[in-house]
């Protein structure tokens, strides 16, 4: 995992903006902001946390096994490594 000095910013649904505080996952970071994100397994294999990545880059902490499109990410097992814009379902 890359250790970042500069904080990256996360923009959700074009409305909520916050900076990523090195939480364990993007899902946890969004939950801290009281954003309603679907989840079940929290381990990358069920797909409930499927989120659209509009811009930016994420890095996976465990191999994502759930079925997602090329422009989608699994929030439960990734962290942003650049400023990201995402859209929840």
């Amino acid at each position: 995992m890359i250790v970042k000095n500069e904080k990256v910013s996360v923009c959700v649904n074009d409305s909520t903006r916050f900076s990523f505080n090195n939480e364990d996952s993007l899902l946890i970071a969004m939950e801290k902001q009281q954003i309603d994100v679907h989840f079940h397994c929290r381990e990358g294999f069920c797909g409930a946390c499927r989120t659209k990545l509009l811009s930016g880059e994420v890095e996976y902490k465990v191999d994502p096994l759930a079925c997602i499109d090329d422009d989608e990410i699994l929030a439960c097992c990734c962290i942003p490594i650049s400023d990201v814009e995402i859209q929840t379902y």
Binding site: F39, H40, R42, E43, F45, L65, A66, C67
Partner: protein
């Protein structure tokens, strides 16, 4: 084309489609056309569990405390799940293995089926503890009209695919009249049957368990039947991974990343596939009605359960490009998530002895007031 258990022809599995290519010969995983299946095998095996490790003895006392309506809910759900896993413990093997062309997919299907047999064995473990004679419960599964109706819809796509595969592999393409019925057998027809069958299995893994899961976890919220709940959590985790596999198969076809003919068929059968899913949704809702015919249980009623089915269906239909046909915003049963997360499911012995381990964790996240709002 005759099936062979060891195809002596040199094949390049990197060029084979998932189904209806050359039969698999060497079970090798050093090179994989679709590496996801090898990853799913690893993950599934890492979930290995044995029903006997879960202590269900306290459930016997709890069961006596349930009302008759609640006993009906509990036992009926176990019957339905027993049916589902009876089908799933054998059918992927019998229907898919004879037509699979990739070693990693072949082994995935075998691994998947094996875990379904663990689920089946766990129902016996649960029922033996609750009833001095569990055979009454098991015997009812094949005569209970409510369950039979579902069994027909679940098994018919498998049976159809299996029958046509048998004709194709023994007689080849052609038109055959058997017992007065005419069957046109060719590869295109078979692929269509495979596509519909996979959609039916996907719907099964996606939603057919969830009414039953919700009831189980609603009992657990009241600190009842916790041994059972622990087993069902392990089953739910496995079912999630099975669902992921069928979603991958369907999406590989639809996105043209496997057999191009399957991409065509997916387009052609789009509506039929969607109807299969929607029928499963409506059957689940009918199941909720049947469960609550003698009365509800604390924390759940038919309406909220049906909303939950729609909520789950939306997510799972969207995952395979079917959109979100139901108008539900937000999760109607938020406490369900506490039972569907993977991280605190373990079968460590110290944990099964202290049944409050899980409950404590869940209590801390769900205020007891949340639960009292539900009407009976």
């Amino acid at each position: 084309m005759k099936y062979t258990t060891f195809n002596q022809k040199t094949t390049d599995t990197m060029k084979e489609p998932m189904f209806f290519g050359d039969p698999v010969n060497v079970a090798r995983y050093d090179q994989q056309k679709h590496p996801i299946f090898e990853k799913l095998i690893e993950k599934q095996i890492s979930f290995f569990w044995r029903p006997e490790e879960v202590d269900v003895s306290k459930d016997r006392v709890d069961f006596q405390k349930l009302t008759d309506a609640e006993k009906h809910i509990f036992t009926s759900n176990l019957k339905y799940q027993t049916l589902l896993d009876s089908v799933q413990g054998r059918s992927p093997n019998i229907a898919f293995l004879p037509i699979i062309s990739l070693p990693e997919l072949e082994t995935w299907v075998e691994t998947w089926s094996f875990f379904e047999t663990i689920h089946s064995r766990s129902y016996t473990h649960i029922l033996r503890n609750l009833f001095s004679n569990p055979s009454e419960v098991f015997d009812d599964i094949v005569v209970n009209e409510e369950i039979k109706r579902r069994a027909t819809d679940i098994s018919k796509y498998y049976d159809d695919l299996i029958f046509y595969t048998q004709l194709y592999q023994t007689r080849g393409e052609g038109v055959y009249t058997i017992d007065g019925e005419t069957h046109e057998v060719n590869l295109r027809v078979l692929k269509k049957k495979l596509f519909l069958c996979m959609n039916s299995v996907n719907a099964l893994e996606a939603i057919r368990f969830y009414v039953s899961f919700a009831c189980t976890f609603a009992f657990a919220e009241r600190e009842l039947m916790e041994g059972n709940s622990k087993i069902i959590r392990l089953i739910a985790r496995d079912e999630n991974i099975h669902l992921t596999s069928t979603q991958h198969i369907l999406n590989l076809w639809m996105k043209g990343k496997d057999d191009p003919e399957m991409a065509e068929i997916a387009k052609e059968c789009e509506q039929e596939a969607k109807d299969i899913f929607l029928l499963a949704v409506s059957q689940e809702k009918e199941w909720a009605k049947y469960l609550f015919k003698d009365g509800s249980m604390l924390g759940l009623n038919e309406e909220i359960l049906c909303q939950y089915v729609e909520y789950i269906a939306n997510q799972r239909m969207a995952a395979i490009g079917m959109g979100q046909p139901f108008n539900v915003k937000g999760n109607p049963l938020p406490w369900m998530n506490n039972y569907l997360t993977s991280d605190n499911v373990q079968v460590a012995p110290q944990e099964t002895e202290i049944s409050s381990y899980l409950v404590g964790q869940i209590d801390s996240e769900v205020a007891s007031g949340d639960f009292e709002e539900f009407e009976l």
